[in-house]
Symmetry: C2
Subunit: 156 residues, 2 copies
DNA sequence: TCCAGATATTTTAAGCTTAAAATTTCAGCC
DNA sequence: GGCTGAAATTTTAAGCTTAAAATATCTGGA
């Protein structure tokens, strides 16, 4: 391995650690805000956010693949959101195995409120990034994501 | 709010979601690699990585603040690493409350191996980023981190 | 000395997460 | 109809995570 290759590898590692630190910091702040100010959690917010994108609801399995978490995971979160009447399970006509989870009107209202705050928190936390930075960053991330997609294909 | 301000806020939100997707994807890949190929987990790797930076070991509380996780959390992880003789707890002379966690020589060897693989995984996953991209990205993240630091001061 | 508050750590309770097993239902084929 | 394998979901077991309570020890002052 040439010295150039080695330093590139080390530089990537350092940037990865910084990326992780940045994202963990922001995510921690969001979790704190949700918990302390709104008595909820990020996984709950994520589920509601996914359901808000699909007004007709999502099958449990579609919800878990959309969020990239396990089936069992969403079962537990939807259980609790259902207890609080923020989400409801609707039977799928013609398939007794499946259920559709969807926001109740109470859940929609709750999500709209939370989403507003959420956008504000992110806006503050990413305050230092102007449109040009955002575009550059977005392009960079896009390339990394594309590389990940390629790898998935190789694994499959 | 002007339309420009609104679109900036929305753009920040979109970039945040992309950032999260990227980091979660990479982190998931690292977790899979550690689990499937090396019978360990990311939190364990993180603890060993922190201890590897401090050959004389770290007090439990310093370890948790370094990793930015709770005290109780490291207690459990160090317990298990200790059972496997990868880490040992050393009493602190003059303070019976405190303990220093440090890698055993077995732990050091194990970490060196894992760290090599880890650097390779990151190198592959960030394959698409050349030195120039890394520098730009690093600067961008630095600014976001600095903003977070400012906010912490305001909260304190 | 003794005690009150601070410090270091562990324990506890609750929630999130996963992979794997279990359950229920479906779909196609005989 | 009945069977078999697939599909959708839930349950289970194990581990990670946190905040808060509990424990043990230390420190400084009365």
């Amino acid at each position: 391995m040439t010295s150039d290759t080695e330093s590139l590898s080390k530089a990537r590692l350092r940037v990865w650690l910084k990326l992780l630190k940045t994202v963990n910091g922001i995510e921690g702040e969001i979790r704190r805000n949700l918990r302390d100010g709104h008595r909820t959690t990020l996984p709950r917010f994520d589920v509601m956010s996914a359901l808000a994108r699909f007004p007709d609801g999502l099958k449990m399995s579609d919800l878990s693949s959309f969020l990239k978490v396990s089936n069992g995971n969403v079962t537990g979160i939807v259980d609790k959101l259902t207890e609080e009447e923020l989400v409801q399970r609707v039977p799928v006509p013609g398939d007794k195995r499946a259920q559709i989870a969807r926001l109740t009107s109470k859940g929609e209202a709750e999500f709209e409120t939370l989403a507003g705050y959420h956008e504000g928190w992110i806006d503050t936390l990413l305050d230092t990034l102007a449109m040009e930075d955002l575009e550059t960053l977005s392009d960079t991330l896009e390339r990394v994501l594309a590389q990940g997609t390629e790898k998935e294909r190789a694994d499959a």
